[in-house]
């Protein structure tokens, strides 16, 4: 076991982020191959066990009762009927819940996982409409559900801000936007806009969304003395364990959280009240508890994407250069969370402009804490920005791809940093050719098939590269040549286990069938979160570090009787199941031989990832060009997406099959964002009124055409494996590509999502 120090990090042969490249950049092997999911057979047989599917003796089932006001106090809480109902084990309310510390806001400390920092069921205060006011435990789910319906509450309501129109009258400026300055000003953009030859100045609106992973949020929890075991559906295992330990006053090693399978996350499978309440109720009852939220429950207590109102103003010269780029606006938030929906982020790096003004504020509302949902910020920010770019191209009489070619920056327009790797125009050109963009008429309403008007649109996709520090990886090599790499990360369907097995096979030069990847359990070396398209690169950083230690340990074990004698890390490479001199094919010894000669059964090495210095030195982003064809009924206003193509520049692709699926999945969620998805929030009561999958419309089979995916597959020289992360980028730009296609079909600009029939009538 070895931890890296700063000095070790600069030793020859070690990866120094921003200085040297990952040696994997020039290796391939299993990397990139369309390998089928390793866990596929388990999933298609129904054998993959999800959070609510772990049996325990004496298990009881939980159901929640929710508040019906947005703000105020509980004045009376009658639980007698619920307690008397058949099968009820107990009813927990703020009166008898164990005393617990409040969660701390995610990113406020290394173990903070709270989506909100409100105390959970500790007092009579109500902060949002839908807050849990009671937990019922019973012998069966039916008994618990029935008893929860018998809980009666009276309230003393307080004035609540439940209207966005009211809330935005008192905007709040944030200190920072996820660590970035909330305001960016280069030159006098407003003056430049006024003076510009061509202007676009529009307001765009995007609604609330819910992740709506098909797996309902669930946890199975059990206490053994002071040890807490949680089977969760989680995309932040270690943070959840640390936060639960803090809430219940336990040592962090007393909490074990595992989550080998997660039925979809998209930012929603984090720590919310239900896990905390289940742990508290299990402690109170002295029995294991299973909680599985109803779909309504998911809407009531798991936050979603907030709504935004954005202004984009572009001033251009007649030849299509930007004199002014302004992107400002406001998003609804609460005073007890920290998710600002950073929609101005894309404008920070996408286009060159002589003057820039970017600023966003929040409007505080009395509502469930909003949270991160697939491409937070970029998904809705690209809707506004990329629609405005299309409007500008139209005014300039330029093809929208040609306009983007003219405003393509050489360095990051706001930070001035060099791009690590940027091939946006390349992605546009390849996509345009494949999609048949040249068949698009620049004038709207030129193509028709009976009642259906047909149009094409495009838009830029973008999402930043991030690599989180703090992750570790352990490599275990057995005498039989089996390699196991372990880290407490997550596979919610991204294909982590499969892509990482390919990565490890290629990095260590061993066949794929000799590699196992262990994840999904806090007993493993500390893992990073699955969020912000960061997990793959973050695992990569830790595996690089562990591999360096692994090779150095093997060189030591090889000793003087090996063809490797005297060689250092910088002089060797892993290949063909062993270590060899970089330039001398004859100097080689296999892993098995080294272990055998040194009398070892196994070698175990662990290391932490080096800090992400590459993010400081370079502007690092993934890019893409989204192409959409729509058919719009002139009679009903119905919009059908008839063709879609996404052309991405996301660095090295690790698995062609699973990556293609992930890009498509993002695009499909983007089609929902464009056309159907909206969480309806009653501004009078603050209650979500479409809290079901019957009323919240995610795309179904019939809404989704065959989607085509292209990617540049150009490795990013600054990223581990050359891979920048692909989870979010698919959804970005889709809303604008659809809206721009709708304009091309109909001549109508819809600047208010979703593009429902009424807006086109």
């Amino acid at each position: 076991m070895s931890m890296q120090s700063e000095s070790a990090n600069t030793r020859p042969g070690r990866w120094q982020p921003a200085v040297t490249q990952d040696p994997m950049l020039h290796k391939h092997g299993a990397l990139g191959q369309p390998v089928s999911r390793i866990d596929g057979p388990l999933k298609v047989q129904g054998k993959a066990r999800f959070a609510a599917e772990f049996p325990y003796d004496g298990l009881c089932y939980a159901a929640l009762a929710f508040s019906t006001i947005a703000r105020g106090r509980i004045t009376a809480l009658d639980t007698t009927a619920a307690e008397a109902a058949p099968g009820v084990v107990l009813v927990m309310t703020h009166r008898n819940a164990p005393r617990m510390k409040a969660p701390s806001l995610m990113m406020s400390s290394p173990t903070a996982a709270g989506a909100s920092d409100l105390p959970v069921m500790q007092d009579d205060e109500i902060h949002w409409n839908g807050q849990p006011i009671a937990v019922v435990l019973a012998e069966t789910q039916e008994q618990a559900d029935h008893a929860a319906s018998l809980v009666r509450a009276d309230y003393a309501p307080l004035p609540a801000v439940t209207s966005f129109d009211e809330a935005k009258k008192s905007p709040r400026q944030l200190d920072n936007l996820l660590g970035q300055p909330p305001v960016v000003e280069i030159g006098d953009a407003e003056a430049a806009l006024k003076a510009a030859a061509v202007q676009v100045d529009q307001i765009y609106r995007t609604p609330r969304h819910n992740h709506n992973a098909i797996e309902l949020h669930a946890a199975t929890v059990a206490w053994t003395g002071d040890e807490l075991r949680v089977h969760d559906a989680s995309q932040l295992l270690d943070l959840t364990a640390g936060q639960l330990a803090d809430i219940f006053g336990l040592e962090s090693d007393k909490v074990r959280v595992s989550s080998p399978f997660v039925g979809g996350g998209f930012g929603g499978k984090c720590l919310w009240d239900h896990q905390i309440l289940a742990c508290a109720a299990a402690r109170l009852a002295g029995r294991p508890v299973r909680i599985m939220l109803s779909r309504e429950g998911v809407f009531r207590i798991v936050g979603g994407r907030t709504l935004t109102e954005q202004r984009v103003a572009l001033g251009a010269s007649a030849d299509g250069n930007l004199d002014a780029l302004i992107h400002t606006g406001i998003a609804a938030m609460t005073t007890h969370n920290s998710c600002p929906e950073q929609f101005t982020f894309p404008a920070r790096h996408l286009y060159a402009a002589k003057s820039i003004r970017l600023a966003q504020e929040v409007a505080d509302m009395d509502m469930l804490a909003n949270t991160f949902m697939r491409a937070p910020g970029e998904s809705v920010g690209t809707f506004a920005l990329e629609c405005a770019i299309d409007e500008l191209a139209d005014k300039l009489g330029l093809d929208p791809i040609e306009l983007r070619r003219r405003i393509e920056p050489e360095t990051d327009p706001t930070s001035g940093k060099p791009f690590s790797s940027r091939h946006l125009i390349d992605a546009y050109e390849k996509g345009a050719e494949r999609f048949g963009w040249d068949r698009r008429s620049p004038t709207p309403r030129q193509r028709r098939d009976g009642e259906w008007l047909i149009g094409m649109g495009c838009a830029t996709a973008t999402y930043p590269y991030h690599r989180f520090p703090g992750g570790a990886a352990r490599i275990r090599l057995t005498a039989g040549g089996q390699v196991t790499v372990s880290t407490a990360v997550h596979d919610m369907g991204m294909g982590t286990a499969t892509a990482q097995a390919q990565h490890i096979a290629a990095r260590l030069g061993v066949p794929l069938n000799q590699v196992s990847f262990e994840y999904g359990d806090t007993t493993l070396p500390r893992g990073v979160i699955a969020g912000g398209s960061t997990q793959t690169a973050s695992i990569g950083g830790a595996v690089i570090a562990a591999t360096e230690v692994f090779v150095e340990e093997l060189l030591k074990l090889a000793g003087n009787d090996s063809p490797l004698a005297g060689l250092s890390l910088a002089e060797v490479e892993t290949r063909d199941g062993g270590i060899g001199h970089r330039d001398d094919a004859a100097r080689f010894e296999s892993y098995e031989s080294i272990l055998r000669r040194s009398g070892r059964d196994e070698l175990v090495c662990e290391a932490d990832a080096p800090p992400p210095a590459e993010m400081e030195a370079f502007s690092m982003h993934s890019y893409g060009a989204q192409f959409c064809e729509v058919r719009v009924s002139e009679i009903t206003g119905e919009v059908r997406v008839s063709r879609f193509l996404g052309s991405f520049d996301a660095g090295r692709i690790l698995n062609a099959k699973t990556a293609t699926s992930q890009f498509k999945g993002g695009i499909i969620m983007g089609i929902g964002l464009a056309l159907t998805e909206e969480t309806n929030f009653d501004p009078r009561s603050g209650r979500i009124v479409n809290a079901s999958l019957a009323d919240y419309h995610v795309p179904v089979q019939m809404d989704v055409p065959a989607i085509e995916i292209l990617y540049t597959d150009i490795p990013d020289p600054q990223a581990p494996m050359g891979a920048r992360g692909i989870g979010e980028i698919g959804i970005t730009g889709v809303g604008a590509a659809v809206a721009n296609a709708v304009y091309n079909a109909t001549g109508k600009r819809i600047r208010d999502l979703p593009i429902t029939l009424d807006k086109l009538m």
């Binding site: 069966t140 399978f261 999945g665």
Partner: protein, 181 residues
């Protein structure tokens, strides 16, 4: 209550309010069948009852006594995957895998509906001797099964391939159903 589940006779005591879904998952341990909405909107709970696809969350278990129920656990045989299960793996017809059992059962039930010439809303000629199976028909008929990861293309590819490989006389029914027939 008595049921035949995946060819095995099962006797269980359960709350008469239990849905077939909760009975399968909570009382009998058939956790392959999934709950996604509990109100018939997502299709994750789809199982086959005497070969017909139903949303088990909308079915009171007590009403299905004596019926033959097939869940995802009963699709393969002797440890081998059903051809449709194999096709889902090859065409990446899922990501997280949570909606997958419902998609599989639904597709198998759908194949029988097509075999019986049951039209759908997009069937152009209701009087035709047999339904012309194209991508639009399959997409329409599978629209009751939501997939939030967005594996829809792979699902249709997997179903199309499996249907094409299965002769008209041999629908992709489960092995024990075939054995019974």
């Amino acid at each position: 209550m008595n049921f035949t589940i995946n060819g095995q006779s099962v006797e269980v005591e359960a709350d008469i309010r239990s849905s077939l879904l909760d009975l399968l998952r909570n009382s009998l341990g058939f956790t392959g069948t999934k709950k996604g909405c509990d109100q018939g909107a997502c299709g994750a709970c789809t199982v086959l009852v005497d070969g017909e696809r139903i949303n088990s969350c909308l079915a009171l278990a007590v009403q299905y006594q004596g019926r033959s129920i097939t869940t995802v656990e009963g699709l393969g045989s002797d440890g081998a995957l059903h051809p449709l299960q194999q096709a889902f793996v090859e065409h990446d017809g899922f990501q997280c895998g949570y909606c997958t059992p419902g998609q599989l059962c639904s597709a198998i039930g759908m194949a029988r509906e097509i075999e019986r010439n049951v039209p759908s809303v997009v069937t152009a000629d209701l009087t035709a001797a047999s339904v012309t199976v194209d991508e639009t028909e399959l997409r329409e008929r599978m629209s009751g099964n939501l997939c939030r990861c967005g594996a829809y293309n792979g699902i249709i590819e997997a179903i199309s391939e499996t249907l094409a490989e299965t002769s008209a006389s041999q629908t992709p029914a489960s092995s024990h159903e075939r054995a019974r027939a």
